[in-house]
């Protein structure tokens, strides 16, 4: 075949970002250990989903927040090379700062206009101790912040469900409640596979009445089985 017209071809980048609460309360009842286990357990499943969708280049990273916020895995890492690094719990819940730092990375550049909508997964067991609204406004001030698939997992009954719902920003999507290690594994697996698969090949979405709606169809979350574990958190 003769040389193809045009410049370099490339699959479309799909940024998947964990936003993890590492406050002191995450150290109670083994929550942080279970979160580390659940994400590490999900990685091979993410890799399989990515293999099945070669037209999306899945790039994974993570940001953590407690006393302030920092990138835990700063480099957007091809999922095939991604390795989870354990988090540790200590300090308060500076969720707003994490969202502000995230907003910086969703600017264009460094993001590309031709990327697929990023997937942002916020995991928390408590209430923000800083200015959450400031961070959320910064995030939603970026085009890719607004267009991102924003999901949240509430660990335990002390999680601020209302704050997580504001992060999601779509009334038809609710935070996933994880009151047991089994539920946390199930929710992490779902966002890592079903949601990732949906985000890897999204169909075009018409703007309805000039209003932007969910631009990636989100599959229904898994129902807990009959052997559902007792709530421990």
């Amino acid at each position: 075949m003769p040389k193809l017209p045009g410049g370099e071809l490339a699959s479309r980048p799909l940024h998947f970002i964990w936003i993890a609460d590492c406050s002191g309360s995450m150290g109670v009842d083994g929550k942080i250990q279970q979160l580390n286990f659940a994400i590490r357990d999900a990685v091979p499943h993410m890799q399989k989903v990515a293999e099945d969708n070669p037209n999306a280049a899945v790039l994974v990273r993570a940001i953590k927040f407690s006393n302030g916020a920092q990138w835990h895995i700063a480099q957007p890492t091809p999922v095939a090379e991604f390795k989870w690094l354990d988090l540790e719990a200590m300090g308060v819940t500076d969720m707003g700062m994490a969202l502000s730092m995230l907003a910086e990375q969703l600017k264009i550049p460094p993001m590309s206009e031709r990327a697929l909508p990023p997937v942002l997964v916020l995991i928390s067991d408590g209430r923000p101790t800083d200015d959450f609204q400031k961070g959320l406004s910064a995030l939603l001030g970026e085009p890719w912040g607004r267009k991102a698939v924003r999901l949240a997992i509430a660990i335990g009954e002390d999680a601020d469900y209302e704050v997580l719902q504001r992060f999601i920003g779509h009334p038809e999507l609710k935070p996933l409640q994880a009151n047991s290690p089994e539920a946390l594994v199930r929710h992490i697996r779902w966002v890592s596979t079903a949601v990732l698969k949906s985000a890897s090949a999204p169909a075009s979405q018409p703007r309805e009445g000039g209003v932007s709606k969910l631009n990636v169809p989100i599959p229904a979350p898994p129902e807990p089985g009959p052997d559902v574990a007792e709530d421990v958190w």
Partner: protein, 290 residues
């Protein structure tokens, strides 16, 4: 739809190919392409549509086909005989009437198609299809690009994502239509949205001075397959060079394979390209296809 060739003054070629991701998932090609009949009287109309393909737009392949046929039918009503209408009046017609009429006729075509082909359970129509959100038009949702060429002017028209490019004799590539900031991520304006005619973009080019040597219309799966904008724009200048060196027939013969490979290495989406080539360019530069 397969690659094709038609004659003269302007030549046309194009192809529409099912995307690599659609092949994997069992979805059909949801793009549609209509090449002009250049053997007939002008206007010559190139129309390209891209069905949304989401579960809610489960008939968008039909919506795309209806869109290209509707566009051609509406554009043929244009009073394009320069003896019969002033260019300013035609421009006014295009800007004030064309968008409303294309959308209105597409909706009528959808209504007729729904009446002729009632929904069946196997289509997996989501509940609430007839909701006020978008009604049954959402099931057929598509974007549409139109290039209309006459002896005296070219009209470019677009509603939703996709790309129209022009290439000068010297290989300079540009976009005749202004950008639309609402087209971001995988979100697009659409024929199926309420008052969608207001979202159409139109440009009118009088054929004087230096008309384009090449006009390209492509579905968004094409541009999304390149690492950057510059790489996609190079398609225009590269195609002009290939047509001049290898001939139009050779390019047409390779086009389907190229589009398959571009989708495979790139976006995975359906990829459709329609091309109009002006043959009255500088005779010294016609190459094998003059």
């Amino acid at each position: 739809m397969s690659a094709g060739l038609v004659l003269p003054l302007w030549r046309a070629l194009g192809a529409s190919r099912r995307g690599a991701a659609h092949v994997r998932s069992g979805l059909p090609n949801q793009d549609a392409l209509l090449l002009p009949d250049l053997g007939s009287e002008p206007p010559w109309i190139l129309a390209l549509a891209d069905g949304h393909g989401s579960p809610k737009s489960f008939r968008s392949d039909r919506g795309a086909l209806l869109a290209v046929n509707t566009a051609a039918a509406v554009c043929r009503r244009l009073p394009c005989d320069p003896a019969g209408a002033r260019l300013s009046a035609i421009k006014h017609w295009a800007e004030d009437y064309l968008s409303r009429e294309i959308v209105r006729c597409w909706r009528t075509a959808v209504d007729e198609d729904m009446a002729a082909r009632p929904l069946v359970a196997a289509e997996g129509a989501p509940s609430g299809l007839a909701s006020p959100e978008g009604g049954h038009y959402l099931a057929y949702g598509a974007t549409l690009l139109v290039v209309m060429v006459t002896a005296t002017f070219i009209l470019y028209w677009q509603l939703g994502d996709g790309d129209i490019l022009t290439v000068t004799d010297d290989g300079v590539v540009s976009r005749p239509l202004p950008p639309d900031e609402k087209l971001f991520g995988n979100e697009t304006t659409s024929l199926c949205a309420d008052r969608s005619w207001q979202e159409a973009r139109t440009a009118f080019q009088v054929l004087a001075g230096a008309p384009p040597a090449l006009i390209l219309a492509a579905s968004d799966g094409y541009a999304n397959s390149y690492r950057d904008e510059a790489g996609f724009l190079r398609v225009g200048s590269d195609l002009l060079t290939l047509i001049r060196t290898d001939g139009l027939e050779a390019v047409a013969a390779n086009l389907s394979d190229w589009l398959d490979e571009i989708s495979r290495q790139g976006s995975g989406d359906d990829v459709t390209l329609g091309v109009l080539c002006r043959t009255t360019t500088n005779p010294a530069r016609l190459g094998r296809w003059g």
